[in-house]
């Protein structure tokens, strides 16, 4: 599905990602953890195609294609979804109109006719139920005046609408109460299929109680310094990142 090879990237001349290698296979869930500022969101930004991050070395192959050559909207239409750490407000643009445009752009890309108004509204209704999002939110402008938790749920709702092949969820669990956390996790679990994959960026092991990852990576100072099974998340929760930092330093010394 996704092969990242020795990816290096910088922002404004400052090197942030310092050689990341990672492979995500169809059906897998990867968790990425790591201290603040280590580059998790930057990695997500590179995958989604944000321009201000400059790729200086390495390659990313997505479904056999060079991802870095594709425009952000083509990546989206090819099935990459990014759940934003900080979802953006778009005043004046209704969720309905926004999602309708997005869904129909996806359909066009796949050679399908646009959905009729009634089919579209039915799809909205079904997916709203799936992610237990308040009906009223879907009638408002995109994220405008949504609470922090509502914004995160709205990301999951959009993911459900667009049914991506590879979803990257950047701290979608942060700031959620326990019920909302369950909703988000359920959203992911219901969408999970043998042919789609998830990269879940999180600080909290509790999310991983609901969404069971196949692999857990630790990103530290722009590098993946540790990769293991889900037990790694528990260990991190218990011991923090200090031991990892020490390990890294020792490695560098030795």
């Amino acid at each position: 599905m996704l092969i990242i090879n020795n990816l290096k990237a910088s922002i404004g001349g400052k090197s942030i990602l310092k050689g990341i290698t990672l492979e995500v296979k169809p059906g897998e869930i990867h968790a990425i953890m790591g201290p603040n500022g280590s580059g998790k969101s930057t990695l997500a930004a590179v995958l989604a195609g944000r321009e201000f991050v400059e790729v200086t070395e390495g390659s990313v192959t997505y479904l056999g294609k060079n991802l870095l050559d594709m425009s952000p909207e083509d990546r989206a239409k090819e099935g990459i979804f990014l759940g934003f750490q900080y979802p953006i407000e778009i005043p004046g643009v209704s969720m309905v109109n926004f999602m309708k445009t997005a869904v129909n752009e996806h359909r066009k890309h796949n050679g399908l006719d646009p959905l009729s108004a009634s089919d579209f509204l039915k799809l909205m209704r079904d997916k709203k139920e799936l992610v237990e999002i308040d009906s009223k939110l879907a009638n408002r402008s995109v994220n405008e005046g949504f609470s922090g938790g509502e914004k995160k749920k709205n990301e999951i709702f959009q993911m459900a609408m667009l049914e991506p092949k590879l979803a990257i969820l950047d701290e979608t669990d942060s700031g959620l109460d326990i019920d909302a956390l369950r909703v988000v996790a359920n959203g992911v679990n219901k969408l999970k299929r043998p042919d789609n994959s998830f990269i879940v960026i999180t600080h909290y092991q509790r999310l991983l109680d609901y969404i069971v990852p196949d692999v857990v990576h630790v990103l530290y100072d722009g590098r993946i310094v540790k990769t293991a099974g889900r037990e790694l998340a528990l260990e991190l929760e218990e011991k923090g990142y200090d031991w990892i930092k020490k390990e890294v330093e020792n490695n560098v010394l030795s």
Partner: protein
């Protein structure tokens, strides 16, 4: 629901059309034209009047206006950079040659008909949008008015200004200049001296006009100015919705358009006047484009009358216009809804004047400026409440939306209140389309152009919703196209 599905289809067309971009109406038609020599003098004014076989009183009106114009100077107060205009280089009258009496569609010069077909304005009544009557004006003259007979059955007069002068001289004489006198301002005086044609409309007492009336203005000839006049009279208890559209060929020289629109609403009458202004805006470097200097004013003459202006201004190199309402009748209402776009090097100084004279008069102003590229957009509005206008109300909302950081938005609200009971409210906001917003849309599969379209149409919705249904989609499309290439 039928309407809904039409809209949807059109929406898709918008998306596919948008990829082609650019100004679509920039073609020039090779129509045989009669032109008078360029330049302006008393002689030219007389020639224009003679060409139209005008009565003495009208020639007098023109000559008085011309003499007054000679004493005037270009207004310097607008927030615009206007290059010097040489009035001796302009041709003041151009008309398609050998204009026959047009009794049927077949009489129209095929080239001319093609022109309007290309613009999506078929002059053939069967083919036309159901429920819309059209007066088509090319350069200096009206070439065809559709549905004239159908309307006449209800007593509605809808014809070219020139025909009205011939057939209804009393009405024209009574109302012309009663709202915009020939001394009003520099461009109004100029128009009053040299105006060539335009539309005339009279809705008799108690009649609701059953279809949209619209005038379609087209500048075609080079080096000509377009000076049309529209006079719209809504008699007591009547209603009419009126729309004007405008386009012009792509040219490197600037061309002058100085029009006058006068509206009179008698007791309990209502007039909705909508404009979709898409004159050639000039190229990306600011070369060429129409100078659009227009005086539009409505008089709410009778009690409970209402005049509502809606304008979508996407074209012209420079726009200078302030559709206004004089609220003379007690309980009368004036409205102004505007979206003005300036992209590349376009400049706009536009707004309104609401003059409260009668008691319990109400006015609403909603202005949405959109600036992109190096565009400069100014809102200028006056709310004036006279001494006897007790319980006057005004609400003004002026919003500016910026794309990029080389453009500018400015607001100049003026308030003159001479009555203690007046309630006047003013709100203003400025916002920017952020890169974050665009990227968020991109990440959902929406291209940058479409994202801007979504955001801009969301922003302008309140105004677009005021347009007649048939034109709302057109307006949405225009907004998106006119902002193309403004980001990234």
């Amino acid at each position: 629901m039928v309407i809904h599905s039409i809209m949807e289809k059109d929406q898709d067309k918008i998306l596919s059309d948008v990829t082609s971009g650019e100004y679509k109406y920039g073609f020039y038609s090779d129509i045989e034209m009669e032109r008078i020599p360029k330049g302006l003098s008393e002689e030219v004014v007389r020639i224009i009047s003679a060409k139209k076989n005008e009565p003495e009183w009208l020639l007098d009106f023109r000559l008085k206006a011309y003499k007054h114009w000679l004493t005037m100077k270009m207004p310097a107060w607008p927030n615009l950079r206007i290059p010097e205009i040489n009035y001796n280089e302009i041709i003041f009258y151009a008309a398609p040659k050998a204009r026959p009496v047009l009794n049927s569609i077949d009489d129209i010069d095929p080239e001319l008909r093609k022109t309007f077909d290309k613009l999506g304005i078929p002059l053939n009544e069967q083919k036309h949008l159901a429920g819309v009557a059209v007066d088509a004006v090319i350069d200096s003259v009206s070439v065809k008015t559709t549905f004239k007979e159908t309307l006449a059955e209800m007593g509605i007069i809808f014809c070219s200004f020139s025909d009205a002068v011939k057939e209804y001289p009393e009405l024209v004489r009574r109302y012309m200049g009663s709202v915009v006198p020939y001394t009003d301002n520099f461009f109004a005086s100029l128009n009053s001296a040299v105006f060539s044609d335009g539309s005339f409309c009279y809705i008799p007492k108690g009649v609701r006009c059953p279809m949209e009336l619209s005038t379609y203005f087209r500048i075609n000839s080079a080096n000509t100015g377009q000076f049309e006049r529209t006079l719209l009279i809504a008699d007591e208890e009547s209603y009419v919705s009126y729309l004007e559209g405008c386009t012009a060929p792509t040219r490197d020289e600037n061309q002058l358009h100085a029009a006058i629109v006068e509206i009179i609403a008698e007791k309990n009458a209502e007039v909705k006047y909508s404009t979709v202004q898409n004159w050639y805006p000039g190229n990306k470097e600011g070369l060429g484009g129409i100078f659009n200097f227009v005086t539009k004013r409505g008089m709410c003459k009778g009690e409970n009358s209402k005049i509502s202006w809606t304008q979508i201004e996407t074209g012209s190199a420079i726009t200078w216009k302030y559709p206004s309402c004089i609220l003379r009748g007690d309980n009368s209402t004036g409205e102004f809804y505007s979206v003005a776009v300036t992209n590349n090097y376009q400049q706009a100084d536009t707004g309104t004047k609401m003059i409260h004279i009668g008691k319990n008069t109400k006015s609403t102003i909603v202005s949405k400026g959109i600036s992109a590229g190096h565009g400069q957009n100014s809102y200028r509005g006056l709310v004036k409440v006279l001494k006897n206008a007790s319980n006057a109300r005004n609400f003004s909302q002026c919003d500016s939306l910026l794309l990029g950081d080389k453009c500018g938005a400015h607001t100049f609200p003026y308030l003159e209140v001479d009555n203690q009971t007046a309630i006047v409210e003013h709100e203003a906001t400025t916002s920017k389309i952020g890169e974050d917003q665009i990227f968020y849309c991109n990440q959902r599969g929406i291209s940058t152009e479409d994202a801007i379209g979504l955001i801009v149409n969301g922003y302008a919705r309140e105004v677009i919703n005021k347009l007649p249904m048939e034109f709302a989609v057109e307006a949405q499309k225009l907004l998106q196209i006119s902002l193309e290439g403004s980001v990234g």
